[in-house]
């Protein structure tokens, strides 16, 4: 399947949950990101169940706490 992830088209074999996508993209601390799927911010609790489908648009929004 092809999805648009953070503005780039990427291809994956078969379906993925959001949690699996985060892992595949080396985001080892999901606490660091909010995930927007097709324009909607997902509840963190749903990462394990929510499937990402062909044609979806996904954005990882990273926490940035600095102002420093």
């Amino acid at each position: 399947m092809k999805i648009t992830l953070n503005g780039n088209v990427v291809e994956f074999e078969g379906g993925l949950t959001v949690a699996e996508l985060l892992k595949k993209e080396d985001v080892d601390m999901p606490d660091m990101v909010s995930v927007e799927l097709n324009g909607e911010i997902l509840d963190r609790d749903s990462f394990g169940d929510q499937l990402v489908k062909d044609g979806d648009t996904v954005e990882f929004l990273y926490f940035m706490g600095g102002g420093c």
């Binding site: 909010s34 929004l61 926490f63 102002g67 420093c68």
Partner: protein
Amino acid sequence: MMDFSNEQLQRYSRHIILQDVGVEGQEKLLKSSVLIIGTGGLGTPAAQFLAAAGVGKVGLVDADKVELSNLQRQVLHHTTDVGKLKVESAKEKINSMNPDVEVKTYPYYLTSQNIKEVIREYDFVIDGTDNFPAKFLINDACVIEGKPLSHAGIIKFGGQVTTIVPGGDTPCYRCMFPQPPKPGSVPSCKEAGVIGVMGGVVGTIQATEAIKYILDKGELLTGKLLTYDALKMEFRKINLKKRDNCGICSDDPEIKELIDYEQGACEL
């Protein structure tokens, strides 16, 4: 209309010549007020440009004193200021740069107890803080008080910025990030580092948003998160939507009182 002195006509001539500013716009700026919370990497460039632009009243909030490790990025503070309160150091520079600007200093931290009365005095708020408890407190207080806000964060070679105008369709910070991260799960600049210019780029974008809001010109970064990746030299705008179940800006918000979240031990 206000009477401009000859000095003011000269000082602001590059604004006045702009069709979208003119004398009317400059008068708006001189009569406006912006609160800058945090006078560090983001806050100092924002303060510098807002003061130069002739924003009539600039509020500066920061309890910290200038440290040597600040000077790589906090451009309003100089080597001779080390040990001085940041708000005092910034005030001195602004006073010498532009006598039209009244600077009000708040040398303490904002909490759920004092933030509302401070932000009420201003037309626009700039979040230049360096920690999540402050960022969430500022967002929630601005939503409750209906105060427009520029939110930003920087770390390493990255930055993000969005503008929140409460009361309409604009998503707030909590629409993006419903809860602060667990203390210690996300690194701070102190732990992870930051390229000094990040604050300059992002802080001046915040100042730009404040000026556009005051002038009522152009399109604000409302409903958009602008992300900046300096390594790729890439800016992206991510569309954001208001969340129906947002804890603070939805119709029936879960949060009724401001929250003082605990600071992660490693951020202190």
